[in-house]
Each structure stands twice: as structure tokens, then as C-alpha cells.
Amino acid sequence: MTAASVEPLSISSGEPRWFRPLLVWRVFTAVLLTSALIAVAVQRGIVLDGPVRWSLLVALLGAVVGAGIAIRGTLQQVHLGRFSGFVIDLLLMVVLGFIALNRMDMFTGIDAVGEAFNGNVGWLAIVILGWFVSGFADRAGPNQKILKQVAQWTMIAGMIVLTVAMGLIPGLIEFAQRLLEGDVILFAVGAVIAGVFARILWSDSAAHLFKTTQTEGENMDGMLFVAPNVLGFLAFFAGPLIVSLFISFTEWDGLTDAKFIGLQNYIDLFSDSLFLTSLRNILIFGVVAIPLAVFPALLLAALLNSKLPGMKLFRAVYFLPSIAGVVGVTLIWKQLFNSTVGYLNFMILKVTEWFNALVGTGWEAPQPQWISDDSIALIAVIILFIWQQIGFNTVLFLAGMQSIDGTLYEAADIDGAGPWRKLLNITVPMLRPTTVFVVATSTILALQLFNEPFILQSPSPPSGPGNATLTPVVYLYQNAFQEFQIGYASAVAWALFILIFGITLLYFRRSGDDGVLTS
């Protein structure tokens, strides 16, 4: 359904029935939001501390302003009134609905879903089978209609039996009981009313009344489609980001009231030897690890791009490290790096013994202390990072290579170019956008290094011997969760963000100058 494919219209035909209730609702929501704003501001009824309170105040202030605009626009019957009212109703529906469900203890986690399905997997299999069969029934020849109906009814029957077996009936009764407990019903009713008015405002009649143009209507439709993602982004990314920026200007331990100290945390960073050490470490790490994670991946992709037998298997094998859990992988590497029983030193020992036997030398096999020697501890992390990253980069390069126009290679063949020349003169230049992307993502991942040193050094401190593996994120973690310096840790986070943002911007600007972004 598209709601807004209409031209502006004068309201000579009179107001629709829902207009007066909408006006009442607009005023009610404005009063409600203003009351909430005052309650948070004066700490009556809604008592919150620190940055959480300030964040809520800002959000509520924005909502009150929006509600005011919505009232004015509704009275004037202009599109701004429709749009702002729609946004407020949509947000109210989500927020009130979330509060109601939360107060009903409905967010129980994925394990609860697993437990509910537990023991009824057979019925679930019937549902899935019915779904698959109904999907493929079109290919069943003359009996397709019957087969489709049988499959769909099997699926429906399976669903009914499964939900009943999972405890749907007592579950619905329990749901109803929880809904009627305390103030839950108020939030639930509020969410439903907000949802109803949001639906009304999205309708054709609202578009007519508020004189919405076709473009404005299409914009609204588009915004509605991206709304779930935008809401998630605001709630779980932009919101915390802004809060952390605010926190970075405070002295806050996460437990008591935050004290605003302006730029002091940022000023302190410049004289903090540990932070500077972490920056030095991560820059060394980046300079070494990023090229080693990118250029070999390019060569590997060139190899895997050939049509030799078994290449699909190799592509999968090289990609495996990037989908393996970083904790598990790092634990395995920790064992490999162990200086006394690790396979890496064992291999060095055996290779040296073999070489000595072959050449007749008497060299002693080096047995590096990969994790505990401050001069090479960072190298161990680099090796691990490269191993994890190279497969992913290879797949990206491979995708880039397969999108290169084959006629270029045919032309090169006619001109007598060999494989190496084709790689350098066709593949590499044509892969420039991919290369920029690969380098940028590898850089971002490298600068955010945390898990690898944290797990490799465990049970010793993650900063490693002589702070050799102290990275900005490790330092951030130590400040936030071990030293209760949330404000300072937030400043570290923002300093790192500025560094990453600056480097990434630099990559893309340079690439843009070369026409990569427009290619």
C-alpha cells in the first residue's frame, strides 16, 4: 500500500471523523511528554543519575518540541503536522510497547525460546517440511495444486500442535495476567493508541487532509521503511555514542554522580604515558599488520581466481579463520605460541634440526618467548591478526576480480601479455575500489584491537610484558572496568574514534581524488 500518492487538496469536504480525537491525542501526548520532562528535571517520580538523566532530558526535550510542532501543524492541517505527529506516535508506540513488554518480563532471551522448542523439535520439523514442500509444489506437475494444499494444511496443523505443545494456552493466560498487573495495561493501551494514530496518519485520508504532496508522501513511506533500522541505530549506536561523548567531558566512576570537567580528560591524555604507549603500540601494529593482511590476500585471491580443480575448497578453507570465533581462535594460538610446549617453537626446533643434519651445521634452534618477551609480544599479536584477516580480505579481492570485465583480459591476451603483466596492469588498477575498502576495514579492525592481546596474555595483565601489547581499547577497558574511570575511558574511546575517522577519511579522500569513489 502506498499512502501518499495525492496532490495537495483543500479541505472543502470537511474534517474526517478521526480528526478531533487526533487533536485530543496530540494535546494529551504533549502534556504527557512535558510532565515526563519536568519529572526528570526536578527528580520527582523519575529519579535518575548522571549521564542517563541528562540523555533522557535531551530526548524528552526533543520530544516536547516535536509534540508542539505536531499540535501546531495539526491545527493548521499542513504536512509538517502530519509528519511530526506520525514520528511521535511511532516512537511512542515503540517506547511504550517496549516498557510494557519489559514490565511483563517478556524479554527472556534466546535460551528461553530454545527451551520452549525443546522436546517439540519433531513438530517443528513438520512445519518446516510443509513450508518447503508448499514452496516447491509448483514444480510438481499436474498434482501441484493438491500437493500445495496438503503441504500448507500440514504446516498449519504442525504450527497449531507445536504452539500448544510449547505451552501456548497457559502462556496466553499468563500473558493476560501479566498484562493486567499494575500499570502494565496503561503502557500497553498507550502503545496501541499511538499505533492506531500512527496508522491513521499514514492513510490516504490523512494525506489529503494535511495537503501532503506526492514527494512528501513518498519520503514518508521511505522513512517508514527504514524506521526499524533507524530506531535501532538511534537506540543502540547513536544514542550510546552521544552519551559517551558527554561522559568524556566528566569525571565519572559509573557509581556516583558525574562531575563536568570540560576538556580535562582530553588534556590529560596527552601527558598520560600509558595512553601514549598504547597509541605507539597500535600504530606500530597497524603499520606492520595492515600491509601483511592486504597484499598477500591480493596474491592469494589471484591464485584462487584461477579455474584449477579444488579452488572452491581452498576458497572456503581460507575464509574459515574469519568466521571462526575470535576467542576460540586466540586460545588455540595461545597454545601454539607457548614457548615450551607450543607447536610453533616445536616446528622451529625440528626445522633447525633438519637443517643442521642436512648442512652439517650445529645451530641452536631459537625458542622465542612469543607471549612473554616484550620485544616480540606484539609480533605474536600481529601474526594472529594477519591469520584471521587474510582470508576475509582474499574473498573481498576475489569478488572484486570476478567483477572485472573479461574482455580486458582477452585484449591483453591478444596483445601477448603474460599472467604477471595482466595482474599488474589490469587486475591491480581495476581493483582499486576494493583495495581501498579492504585497507580501510583492515585499518579500522587493527586500531580496535582488543580480544587478541586480552586473551593471549591471560592470566597475566592484557597490557603484556613491559606494556608491549597495551592497545588503546585495552587501556580503555582497564580504565572503565578496573579503575572505575568511565569518564576518562570515554575520552580514550573518542580519541581513538577521531584517529580511526581521520585515517579512514584520508583513505577515502585520496581514493576520491583518484576517481575511485566515482568509478
Binding site: 542517563v52 518480563d105 494456552i169 497457559p170 500473558f175 572496568f481 578496573q482 568511565i486
Partner: protein
């Protein structure tokens, strides 16, 4: 149509998951059920899941949430069972247990985030070193008035932890406060690979200890003797954090702080003696290099003596060689050890402090501690024969007594820094001790400067 059906099915399934199942709260109209999905992370990073469903708060009951970090999945399950038992036995209280950590966040992160958001449980466990930080920030309650009213006696628990738990905020000395009760304690022991001892033909440390001959000289002989087997075999290993080297300082009569814990004590002659012994040990090739995790090679059967706490025991039980535990060797100042502990404390924002205190008392009862001790990772914090007997039933090791002896060997009790910042002190101390032990920093330079280098932790 098909998509709408599937959507409807998904919604109903989620409702059933959240409210249905084996719910029995709908039997009478007064009960409610809170299904709590919990995921526990063991100390070693191994994650596990324990689902705890706490049922039925009768009308008028106080609902209390409590959180403690389990060492392993089995322990998480036992804590869940204990929660259900106490929920049934405590008057007017309904309990919900939360292990507090999951795949994405450790215990400390979860707790701090919950405290910041005002959603922390009524009762929670914290390491002993955090008591001062939490008490001085008014995050936890002083429980003395509730303890006095209930007839609690501080002497029912080991004096080391209780000294910190009764510390007065104003003086920084043990006084009339009560910040919580210890959940458990632990000491160091040396896990011994008996097969390597036999193969090397060195004296058995258990015999040496029994004969009163288990001192540093004998220890060094055993370590060197085992290492002489050659190859990847090493005599000894310890992890590179403050606990293990703290025990070496303690054996020499030193420590991190002055006696009243108001200033740095790393530069005392006794502390330097302990550190020197450790540095000398690490100057040779007989030991696992400092900073390497010694547990994998010990479990691989290539290390003779492995210093670790009681918590390592369940993991060591999986090895396929003969092993036992012996106490730490006597140092320059005689026997010594380190006493680890953590405590149950009460959230300052709990709505019912009296009930929360009752829960703390119940969680530290001998019978409850006995249930946990049976799993082998924790030593009871209550001086109770019943609890200790349960602890001693866990075998191997045969010589569980080694850990209990550690409690008697004048252990240095880990604890918070009431006169400064413990986390900051540790951050500064750890890297410098590592530098000294690995030989990259001169001992004389360390002694001359370390206390000024760590002075910022004391606010100066």
C-alpha cells in the same frame, strides 16, 4: 497468506516461550513467575548456560535478586539450586539468581554496568580488593546494625577477610563497620607432577614438607632436578600477576604495603628479599618463562611444580599423570601464603536491607558453603568443621589439607587499599615487577624508586 501465518506462528511461539512452558504460577491467581535466562562464564573464558527459573512469589513476599560469579558450569548450577532452596526456606523472600556474565561481558563489566544503570541486584559478590572502592562510594551498605540485630558473630569467619570487611571508612582500620560476609577463601598450593618427580629421582616435596624440610633451598633443588630431565621439561611455573609474586614476598616477610596499608611497602628489605629469590629462580632455564601461562605445559605433563590457587583443581583433575598438592616452601621469614577471598555485599539501593542481610547470612551458612565446597574449587570462609569436611571430600588431590594449611601459614590477606586506589597501584606495580623478575630492571633501581613511582595510587 503463508507469510502472515508464519508471522503469527512466530509471535505465538515467542509468547509461549516467554510465558508458557512448565509454568506453574497460573495454578493460583496470586503467583507470578519471572523466567530468568542466565548465562554463566567460567573464569577461564569457557562459557556455559544455566537456566534458572524462579517461581512464585507469594503475595507480600519481597523479591530479591542476587548475583555471584561461578567458577564453572557445575558451580553455576549449584548456585541456582541453592537459590531455589533458600527461596523456599527464607521467610517472605523470593530469590532470583544471576551468574552475571555471558559471552559478551565479564562479571565485573556486568556488575558495573548494572550499578551505573541502577539495576544491580540486591545482593552481589565482589572480589575482596574492591570492597573499599564500593564502600567509599556508598554503593554498598554497612550491615552492622542488621548483623547486631541478628546475633551475627564476626569470629565465625577467618580473621583476614573480616579485618577488611569491618574496616571503618574514616580511619581505614578494622572497626565497627560490616560491609559483607566472605563467600569463600582460597590459598596457593603447588600442584606436583609426581611422575616427573619419580622420573627425575628428586626428593618428593610432600615428604620434604612432612619432615619439615620444605624450604626454598629444597624447593630449588627439586626444581633444578626436574629441569635436568631436559627437553621441554621445566621444574616450576607461576602466572605473572600479583597473587603469585605477592606470596613470594609474604614468604620473605614483605608485602605490597606497610603494616597499616597506608603506604607502599614494595621497597622494604623483606619485600626485596622475596623478589630477589623469585628473580634468581627466573634467571635460569629451569622454569617456565615469566609471563607464559604455565597451566598448559603443566597439564601436558612437562612441568614439575605449578603454583596456583584452589580454583585450578577441577581443571587439573583431567590430567593423565599422578599428581598431588604440596604447600608453598618456607621462605626467609618462615611459612607464608596468600589468602584470596570475595564477599557478598548488599546494594545500597536495595528496598529491604534487612531481608538482603538475611540472604547474605543464609548464603554464608555452613551448609550452603558445604554444597559449594563439594565441587572442589572453593574453600569455605566460615570456620566450620561441617563445611571443611565437605571440602576435604573432594579428591584428588589426596592432600587437600595443603590448602587448609595455607590458611594457618600467616598468609597475606589480599584486600582493598583503603588509603588509595588498588587498581591503579596494581597497574603500576605489575609491569615493574615483571621487569625486575625478567631482569630488564635492576633490583637496586627498583628498590630506590618503586614507591615514588606508585605514589599516585595513594593520591600523592
Amino acid at each position: 497468506m503463508k507469510n502472515k501465518l508464519i508471522l503469527l506462528f512466530a509471535v505465538l511461539a515467542l509468547v509461549a516461550a516467554a510465558c508458557g512452558g512448565d509454568d506453574d504460577s497460573a495454578d493460583d491467581g496470586t503467583d507470578t513467575t519471572a523466567a530468568t535466562e542466565t548465562t554463566a562464564a567460567a573464569d577461564d573464558g569457557t562459557d556455559t548456560t544455566a537456566a534458572t527459573e524462579t517461581t512464585a512469589a507469594a503475595a507480600g513476599d519481597v523479591a530479591l535478586r542476587w548475583m555471584t560469579r561461578p567458577d564453572n558450569p557445575e558451580e553455576a548450577a549449584v548456585y541456582g539450586d541453592i537459590s531455589d532452596q533458600l527461596s523456599a526456606s527464607l521467610d517472605g523472600v523470593t530469590l532470583t539468581y544471576e551468574p552475571g556474565s555471558n559471552e559478551g561481558a565479564g562479571y565485573q563489566q556486568t556488575l558495573l554496568t548494572n550499578l551505573s544503570a541502577g539495576t544491580a541486584p540486591d545482593v552481589f559478590w565482589i572480589p575482596g580488593t574492591d570492597i573499599a572502592d564500593f564502600a567509599s562510594r556508598d554503593v554498598i551498605l554497612d550491615l552492622r546494625e542488621y548483623a547486631d540485630a541478628s546475633g551475627h558473630s564476626d569470629t565465625d569467619f577467618y580473621p583476614g577477610p573480616m579485618g577488611h570487611l569491618t574496616t571503618d571508612l574514616a580511619t581505614g582500620q578494622p572497626g565497627g563497620a560490616l560491609w559483607g560476609l566472605p563467600r569463600d577463601v582460597s590459598t596457593f598450593g603447588l600442584y606436583v607432577n609426581l611422575d616427573l618427580i619419580a622420573e627425575a629421582g628428586v626428593a618428593n616435596p610432600l615428604d620434604l614438607e612432612a619432615n619439615g624440610e620444605w624450604d626454598l633451598a629444597a624447593f630449588n633443588d627439586v626444581v633444578d632436578g626436574i629441569a635436568e630431565l631436559g627437553g621441554e621439561i621445566r621444574g616450576y611455573g607461576q602466572s605473572a600477576w600479583w597473587g603469585p609474586y605477592g606470596a613470594w614476598m609474604n614468604n620473605a616477610g614483605g608485602g605490597f604495603f606497610t603494616a597499616d596499608r597506608s603506604a607502599c611497602g614494595l621497597d622494604s628489605d623483606a619485600s626485596i628479599t622475596g623478589l630477589t629469590a623469585l628473580r634468581d629462580l627466573y634467571s635460569g632455564d629451569s622454569v617456565i618463562p615469566y609471563g607464559e601461562d604455565p597451566e598448559p605445559p603443566f597439564r601436558a605433563g612437562t612441568v614439575g611444580l605449578f603454583q596456583n590457587g584452589r580454583w585450578a583443581t577441577p581443571g587439573i583433575r583431567t590430567v593423565d599423570f599422578s599428581w598431588d598438592v604440596v604447600g608453598l616452601p618456607e621462605g626467609a621469614a618462615g611459612p607464608g601464603n596468600w589468602l584470596f577471598w570475595g564477599a557478598y555485599v548488599v546494594n545500597a539501593k536495595t528496598e529491604d536491607p534487612a531481608k538482603a542481610w538475611a540472604l547474605v547470612e543464609a548464603l554464608t551458612e555452613a551448609s550452603v558453603q558445604a554444597q559449594i565446597s563439594e565441587l572442589g574449587a572453593n574453600i569455605p570462609s566460615r570456620v566450620s568443621q561441617e563445611a571443611l569436611d565437605s571440602f576435604l571430600t573432594f579428591s584428588p588431590p589426596a592432600n587437600n589439607q595443603a590448602f587448609l594449611n595455607g590458611l594457618q601459614n600467616s598468609p597475606s590477606t589480599e584486600g582493598p587499599l583503603w588509603a588509595g586506589s588498588w587498581p591503579e597501584f596494581v597497574t603500576l606495580m605489575d609491569s615493574e615487577i615483571q621487569a625486575v623478575v625478567t631482569g630488564s630492571r635492576d633490583m637496586a633501581d627498583f628498590q630506590a624508586n618503586i614507591c615514588s613511582e606508585t605514589a599516585s595510587a595513594f593520591g600523592s
